[in-house]
């Protein structure tokens, strides 16, 4: 396999011949992508094409991998010093005058850490984006710190990473790894990647895999023991670093990077809910983060700074919130905006949606748009989705929040009332999940759907038959969808708020009450909710937490948590409570 449209050349250096591929305009800033183990430069094929229209993208096969030749003898031919020589040779050939932006994955990142922390590359590297590969020196210091002061937590961290490194021990045994890779493991590896790591099938890994993996074992044997036992004391980065941490990495603990700030003066952190092979599974997200980081470094701006919590997770992501004109929807939009997400605020009320979008831009959203749509109107939702996908892209997070209130006895609730509340509260969620969720699945790069149910989903009440029914349906819909989408890396969360101070009360319908009575009850319940005074901002925080930790059902407010607990332990008590008619 070759990269489409790539210009290849061969470069003789230090006794080996490297295969270097270039894409994009050579006048544009140069990005060097360094691959890991057991890979070749083709691991970057998806990311490279996405970067090629804005950058001069350079990829090369590390010595002994892909179409580069291996050093002879292998032992001692893969030291970090020699890898640095290779890197400098490539950089001098492709970008002799200007420093380059380095991106490394796995062992590509391990060696790039060496590039960015040794003196002789100073001035040749403009920035470094690291994913799934720590500096061996930092790693060594990390271990030392934990061995010297073994608190229970630190011992746990050591043991955790120790267990994740099982393959490193295996690779240190002689001959066996080579035999396995050239034999059965090499044949089965593509299937293993697909099943365990969810790497999409296709033209990756390449045919050179068995020899890549066999040669690459020397990366470990030549460097790991030497560096971990005697880490360099001066491994400070001389360029800004962006660290992308996949949360589900089977080989590297997130804790490895806890002390990184002491080595890197300008560090930008990003986290990604994905497994180890992010260049294959999350190319869109990587390309956008790499681009954003390089632009900010080249523009002389400090690293992008969204101040909110979870900015590492949501920075630059596309988030759509329905019912964003007020209450929980608006607060949620703001919370995502503060975390640096690009937000689409959807509401029936155009003016309110515009207001939400405008304020979102002020507090950190790089881009924010207002859209007007009624979630219960399927055609309107289709049109909205068509526009969103065409102009802004596929969603990373969808928040189905729009909902209306309806109170009153079952027999006072007309079928028109029922239709209205189900249309918005249930069908709105169904349309959202179906239309936007389908595109998320199709893209195959993960995502998250948040549905706002309610504590009424598990707390029955004689006063809220229709509303509770709609919300119970939303809860079950979320659970079923969660099961279906789990395999695609798309999370689904149902949020169940209790009594939250929003204007749902002042727009709620009270079945069986005339207009004056309805207005009186709206006013009274608004006052009661005001006295309870649980702010929607706290629900928004819970929503972000739910997405970050991929929680299934999240009751918010103490009464909702209590009811959730009772529904499992003492459902009888809830039934008793359901008979009480609230006086409003």
């Amino acid at each position: 396999m070759t990269l489409k449209g790539a210009r290849e050349r061969r470069l003789a250096t230090g006794g080996v011949e490297l295969c270097v591929a270039e894409l994009g305009d050579p006048e544009a800033p140069t990005v060097v992508l360094v691959h890991g183990y057991p890979d070749s430069k083709e691991v970057w094929s998806e990311v490279a094409v996405r970067l090629a229209d804005r950058f001069h993208v350079v990829l090369y096969d590390v010595r002994g991998h892909g179409r580069s030749t291996a050093p002879k003898p292998l032992r001692g031919g893969f030291t970090l010093a020699k890898l640095t020589d290779d890197f400098l040779a490539v950089v001098d050939a492709v970008s002799p005058d200007r420093p380059v932006h380095v991106v490394g994955h796995d062992w590509g990142s391990v060696q790039s850490w060496e590039f960015v922390t040794v003196g002789r590359t100073e001035g040749r590297i403009a920035s470094f984006t690291s994913m799934s590969g720590p500096s061996l020196d930092h790693f060594g210091h990390w271990i030392n710190a934990r061995v010297k002061r073994p608190t229970p937590r630190r011992v746990g961290q050591l043991l955790g990473q120790g267990a994740k490194s099982w393959y490193v021990y295996l690779l240190h045994t002689p001959v066996l790894p080579e035999l396995a890779w050239r034999g059965p493991l090499g044949r089965r590896w593509p299937k293993i990647l697909q099943r365990v790591e969810r790497v999409p099938a296709g033209d990756y890994p390449t045919a050179s895999l068995p020899s890549d993996a066999a040669h690459g074992a020397w990366l470990y044997r030549d460097n790991v023991r030497a560096r971990l036992t005697r880490p360099r004391p001066d491994a400070y980065a001389h360029a800004p670093v962006q660290l992308i941490t996949p949360q589900g990495d089977a080989f590297l603990s997130e804790r490895l990077y806890d002390d990184l700030e002491q080595w890197v003066p300008q560090l930008t952190r990003r986290t990604l809910p994905a497994k180890h092979w992010v260049p294959r599974t999350r190319p869109d997200q990587l390309a956008s983060w790499i681009e954003e980081f390089i632009m900010s470094v080249d523009g002389g701006r400090p690293a992008p700074k969204a101040t909110g919590r979870h900015a590492d997770r949501f920075g630059g992501q596309l988030v759509l919130v329905t019912g964003a004109g007020s209450g929980i929807g608006r607060a949620t939009t703001f919370a995502f905006a503060e975390a640096g997400a690009r937000v689409v605020a959807v509401d029936r009320d155009a003016e309110a949606a515009a207001r939400t979008a405008e304020l979102s831009r002020l507090i950190g959203a790089p881009q924010a748009w207002a859209e007007t749509a009624d979630v219960s109107d399927e055609q309107a939702m289709e049109k909205l989705a068509e526009k969103v996908h065409r102009e802004y892209g596929v969603l990373d997070v969808l928040v189905n929040n729009a909902g209306i209130g309806l109170s009153g006895s079952f027999f006072a609730t007309t079928s028109e009332d029922w239709r209205k509340v189900l249309d918005v509260n249930l069908w709105g969620v169904i349309h959202g999940c179906r239309i936007f969720g389908a595109r998320m699945v199709e893209r195959g790069q993960g995502g998250h759907v948040v549905n706002i149910a309610s504590a009424a989903a598990f707390q029955p009440s004689r006063a809220l038959p229709a509303y509770s029914t709609s919300k119970a349906a939303v809860l079950m819909l979320s659970e079923c969808l969660r099961a279906e989408l789990a395999g695609q890396g798309i999370g689904v969360s149902a949020i169940c708020p209790g009594i939250v101070n929003t204007n749902i009360t002042s727009t709620a319908r009270f079945a069986g009450a005339d207009e004056a009575e309805e207005r009186r009850r709206q006013k009274n319940s608004a006052r009661l909710y005001g006295l309870r005074n649980y702010p929607p901002e706290k629900v928004a925080e819970a929503i972000l937490e739910a997405v970050v930790h991929n929680r299934a059902v999240v009751p918010v407010t103490p009464e909702a948590r209590g009811a959730h607990l009772l529904s499992r332990l003492m459902p009888g008590a809830l039934r008793g409570l359901a008979r009480v008619e609230p006086k409003v």
Binding site: S326, R330, F334, E338, A352, R355, T356, L359, L362, I363, N503, P535, E537
Partner: protein, 280 residues
């Protein structure tokens, strides 16, 4: 918006206007002297010294200064948290100066919002306060119950996307009455409030209690009455995700039949009003 021309103002009101101008001059002078590292305590002292040098001897309340997210009263639980702290000003941080000097027996109570350098969020909040100033004057002229006006201000804030932060003030007031104060040689203060002014407020509260009105304009039932003639220091305070902005100035309410005369802002030549005029 109209205000009676200065020459038409009774001597009494001219005194109030003089002290309100003095207070705003103080706020602008102190704001100009703020720089990174200045603490709230220092900013409060600057205000106090400026006004003492110009003859202020008594206070409705001592000057306050709030920096950063304290402008939005984030996590305020007890009234003691209003007092100035050692929080230091940083570039881009919003701040609010709030002072209530008594000069020659006339009281002013003003609030001045600004930021060190550019703060787009606070700029937006300040711009959006204009609608509140208009709404309050309009509805006071319509003689609506104060409680209802309070709720309408609340609704406007919610529509704008902001939180009501004057609710954090004692009794959640959006405004309170101010009046003439007797000049005494000895004018102690209690929890930051001048005893002479507190006495006046207490006397008003007692009268009001008998007649069915209150000197405090709050969201509660005791404010369910039409505007009471007198001078009201009105202070709508908006909060948005850790940034706050307010203005505070005196609204004159009279018992005149003519709507224009029945209520007017004591002075329209104030920093925030000038700012809105410039932006148009």
């Amino acid at each position: 918006m109209t205000t009676a021309v200065s020459s038409e103002l009774p001597v009494e009101l001219q005194g109030f206007r003089r002290v309100q101008r003095l207070a705003y001059e103080c706020a602008e002078a102190v704001a100009a002297r703020l720089e990174p590292g200045v603490t709230e305590r220092e900013a409060a002292r600057m205000q106090r010294e400026y006004l003492r040098e110009r003859g202020v001897r008594d206070w409705f309340h001592l000057p306050f200064a709030w920096f950063g997210d304290r402008t939005a009263f984030v996590n305020f639980r007890i009234p003691l948290q209003f007092f100035p702290t050692d929080r230091a000003l940083e570039p881009g941080m919003p701040f609010i100066l709030d002072m209530a000097p008594v000069y020659e027996g006339h009281t002013a109570d003003i609030g001045y919002s600004g930021s060190l350098g550019v703060n787009p969020v606070q700029d937006r909040l300040m711009a959006d306060l204009e609608a509140h100033r208009e709404l309050i004057l309009r509805e006071v002229r319509e003689r609506r119950p104060l409680r209802e006006i309070y709720e309408n201000v609340d609704r406007l804030m919610a529509r704008q996307g902001y939180a009501n932060r004057h609710r954090a003030y004692p009794f959640g007031v959006i405004a309170h009455k101010v009046d003439r104060v007797k000049q005494r040689r000895f004018s102690p203060h209690l929890f930051g409030f001048g005893t002479q002014s507190l006495k006046g407020l207490a006397a008003d509260a007692l009268h009001g209690h008998r007649e069915g009105w209150s000197p405090l304009w709050s969201p509660y039932r005791f404010s369910d009455h039409p505007p009471q003639p007198g001078l009201w220091a009105v202070e709508p305070h908006l909060g948005f995700r850790g940034t706050g902005a307010k203005f505070e100035e005196i609204l004159v309410v009279t018992d005149s039949e003519d709507p224009e005369e029945s209520a007017f802002w004591l002075d329209d030549d104030l920093p925030h009003v000038r700012r809105w005029a410039e932006e148009k």
